[in-house]
Symmetry: C2
Subunit: 348 residues, 2 copies
């Protein structure tokens, strides 16, 4: 495949990101949304942090307090048999996740060439109310006119829902509320109205039955969503047979909306693929990758906080080539340039 | 407690309902929405049916075909070790529900006195597309002006979402699409706009973390929903500590919106309780039942298709008394008259 990973990869590393406070360490800077703002390329990073501890017998859990005014740090003793600490990403009890071990916020990085980024020293968006108490994650940025709309996962003890924020400059942000209720993630707005309506891809996770699959919804105003339709589901086997969800904001091409999406197999190996959606009704799938567009192969994709993951939240179309920004191994950011033709070739 | 169950209970029994086709049997007629239409009281029943079989070694599973044109019946051999038949309500594999063993539709029953009902011989609403392939369930009816809006659970292999239908006469119905994506149930519209917006209670079921608890959302047009807010959660112990969800359509009282809701404990014993919500902002909970308003105690509540269940989808306020219609034991319909004061007394 004709895919060119940047020689500068990873373009953002953990050590490039200052923690939001001195007693925190950065675990990952990944899964960034992307936008063009004037002559700058903006990455809106998910930065995952945890409290620093030198005691291997304890886990310090960060979360927002109920008033939304400050971060609480709770100490758990790894010897406490009431809890399951076997997955370092969370603490479980009776088979249910009861705490995340990191707290994510969103951070701006800026670049003139799209490759060399300067990461801002402080968060752009930090959790600020009860439905964000466990962190805000995996933003997607859609530019509509002069406004950039950011959809992101809002995690709390009440589940993971989808928040909407708007900005014009990536300095001042306005929260517009939770647009989709739990459990939902991987939401991206289409960059224009289609037949008078806004559209979004989303990825609910039903509990009783059903699977983590892709849906599409419509809105008159970006805040209120309805006419939910099932878009596409897991494949019977292979790279996208266990879970899937939208990735980058859809890109208009002459053949249809190009929706780069992620899929994982039963071994939690995350790849990127693509779907082509009808330009007039994006609820119709025209084509879909039979093989991945990008698989975790480079060292920084295979090894990291959670290895064997490539996960894009944003891409730009530059003269027939998709410049895909993606989180690698839930830890760093990378870039790959992929000709449209290479992506279309995965459909057949 | 000053609760008067009708002496005619159950007011609708399984034997009062003709199956929708001769090779089906009715398992239950329950969880009905209620409306006043002229001088008639309407119950919109959930009727659960299954194919008739006299072979105890097989399970016949009904579902809509992919085109939405007819019902398929699939045969499962109870000796097939690939499947788990231990819960008669569904078939599981690897711990996941893969089929429901019954198919529900919605049926109209009419009454002049609110107690003696005549059940129509055919379905009012039958599953008719892929997102309803496993059945339509548990309707709530909200009258706004001359239009009756019906919210219902739409079940399929893609999960349980929430459909919206409108009618003026309970003879002609118009589907308005899926208003909330899976997994969500127990949705009821408020009967009037509040400060220019429609409101609905809903009950998402998140998978990764979070619990089946009550949320509220807003809409400009009933089709598109947003500004999802967490409303109220499980109690630490007792009757509503395992799951909960909205029940009857909220009733305006001078003290606030009265929202009768269901709660269950870890033993799947379902009771009805109540919450009082702020008249100007129904996202604010003023009070909540400490003890149930109604518990399964009568024989038809304790014994049935799924015993120890009282589950209301609709109630009428008649001169200071709430006439609550409720499904009993997932099998029949019952009625109880409960003075408002009795309900308010559960708050303290």
């Amino acid at each position: 495949m004709n895919i060119i990973r940047s020689a500068q990869n990873p373009v953002i590393r953990v050590e490039d990101v200052a923690p939001s406070r001195p007693d925190f360490k950065v675990l990952g800077a990944f899964n960034a949304g992307v936008a063009q703002l004037g002559d700058e390329t903006i990455l809106l990073l998910r930065v995952a942090e945890a409290p620093v501890t030198d005691n291997a017998d304890e886990v310090l859990v960060p979360r927002l307090n109920d008033a939304g005014t400050s971060v609480l740090i709770e100490r758990y003793d790894k010897a406490d048999s009431r809890y399951d600490f076997s997955d370092s990403r969370f603490i479980s009890q009776y088979g249910r996740t009861i705490m995340l071990t990191s707290l994510s916020h969103l951070r701006v990085a800026r670049s003139k060439d799209g490759i060399r980024f300067e990461v801002e020293p402080q968060p752009a968006l930090f959790p600020e109310h009860a439905l964000e108490a466990w962190g805000i994650e995996d933003p997607r940025v859609t530019q509509i006119g002069d406004v950039y709309y950011i959809t992101y996962s809002a995690a709390s003890a009440h589940g993971v829902g989808v928040g909407l924020v708007e900005t014009r400059d990536f300095r001042a942000f306005k929260r517009r509320g939770m647009m989709l209720a739990p459990e939902n993630k991987d939401v991206m707005l289409f960059p224009e109205k289609i037949n008078g309506k806004y559209y979004a891809l989303h990825r609910p996770v039903p509990k009783a039955f059903g699977a983590p699959e892709m849906w599409i919804a419509e809105s008159p105003d970006l805040d209120h969503w309805g006419n939910h339709r099932f878009l596409m589901g897991l494949s019977a086997q292979g790279w996208d047979s266990a879970r899937m969800g939208g990735g980058a904001v859809p890109i208009r091409t002459e053949h249809g909306w190009l929706a780069l999406y992620h899929g994982a197999d039963a071994n939690h190996r995350y790849c990127m693929g693509a779907a082509l959606l009808d330009l007039e009704d994006p609820g119709k799938v025209i084509a879909r990758s039979r093989i991945p567009v990008l698989e975790p192969e480079a060292a920084y994709e295979v090894n990291g906080f959670f290895g064997k993951v490539v996960f894009s939240c944003g891409a730009l179309l530059l003269d027939g080539t998709v410049r895909m920004y993606y989180g690698a191994a839930d830890e760093v950011m990378a870039v790959a340039d992929i000709p449209l033709e290479t992506i279309f070739n995965t459909f057949s």
